[in-house]
């Protein structure tokens, strides 16, 4: 891993409205814009249900965990820029901007193919110890 490296993207080809029901339960969030197309339309927000914001961030986390096997996310700092709708094709990505003290700093983002940037931010990942350095997972 080097500064400037592009992290392998994590893609969801079509955001599933059924997954939003799982998130509604987990978040204790009955907001109808995640569950009912008519409710979305009534608010003038389109005709597709809207993915929960933390679910969008979870895609970025999945990308980071796949890019840094054995590592651990130390910190995240993100800004929510836009919504993700059911059926959207989204891709999480990132680039390495610094490596220091056993940690990699990365610019990260989530983009929706139809509307571009959804989330942008920065992550710090504690890198996995090299073989022989110990067996503790960070």
């Amino acid at each position: 891993m080097n500064i400037g490296d592009i992290l392998p993207p994590f893609r969801i080809a079509s955001v599933d409205p059924e997954a939003m029901k799982t998130w509604a339960v987990a978040l204790h969030d009955p907001n109808a814009i995640h569950l009912d197309r008519a409710a979305v339309a009534a608010k003038g927000l389109g005709d597709r249900v809207i993915n929960q914001g933390p679910a969008n961030l979870a895609y970025i986390i999945n990308m980071l965990r796949a890019a840094f096997p054995g590592g651990a996310i130390r910190s995240l700092d993100v800004r929510y820029v836009d919504n993700v709708f059911e059926g959207d094709d989204v891709s999480a990505g990132g680039t390495v901007t610094a490596i220091e003290g056993g940690q990699a700093t990365c610019d990260v983002w989530l983009r929706a193919v139809e509307r571009d940037l959804v989330i942008k931010g920065m992550a710090v990942v504690t890198l996995a110890e090299a073989p022989g350095d110990g067996d503790q997972r960070a």
């Binding site: 933390p54 651990a72 130390r74 929510y80």
Partner: protein, 157 residues
């Protein structure tokens, strides 16, 4: 609209407690369902998906999201919007582990908004710790609370 001097100040809510009353436990079943909903399998070693930093703090805090909006004199039906979120992990989140949730509202600031005329920016922080006080997660979130009614009242003057 260049400033918010024409509007009444937002309620003084800084310091309002968001601490929970019962520890939050991430169940293995819910973690598995949540992981699969995002396209990955759950960890075999009991680590929960890191996004539980947000879920556990939101669900485990002492008020509901609607209740937090009420503290800010904001009707949740007006549609609060997530703005920013930051988190620092001191250790991984684990399924089956009770986490104590503590936190408070940091501030509520009224601001001009191109989209809504005026909005309030809510900043709050929430933490997860082990029952013995060992820190696990520190998070800070910002939400935009659109104040359409205030903007309409000002426009009508």
């Amino acid at each position: 609209m260049s400033d918010t001097s024409a509007f009444p100040p937002p309620p003084d809510v800084a310091g309002a407690s968001l601490s929970g009353t019962e520890p939050y436990v991430i169940t293995a079943e819910e973690n598995a369902a949540l992981c699969r909903s995002t396209g990955v399998e759950p960890d075999a070693d009991g680590q929960a998906h890191p996004i539980y930093y947000y879920i556990a703090t939101q669900v485990g805090m002492g008020v509901t999201v609607a209740g937090m909006c009420e503290i800010c004199e904001f009707d949740i039906e007006e549609g609060p919007m997530m703005g920013q979120s930051s988190v620092t992990f001191e250790r991984p989140l684990m399924t089956g582990q009770p986490y104590v949730v503590t936190g408070q509202i940091l501030d509520l600031t009224r601001k001009p908004s191109r989209a809504f005329g005026v909005m309030d920016l809510l900043n709050y922080e929430l933490r997860l710790s082990l029952p013995d006080g060992t820190p696990v997660v520190a998070s800070r979130n910002s939400w935009a609370l659109p104040r359409r009614e205030l903007a309409k009242q000002e426009t009508a003057k």
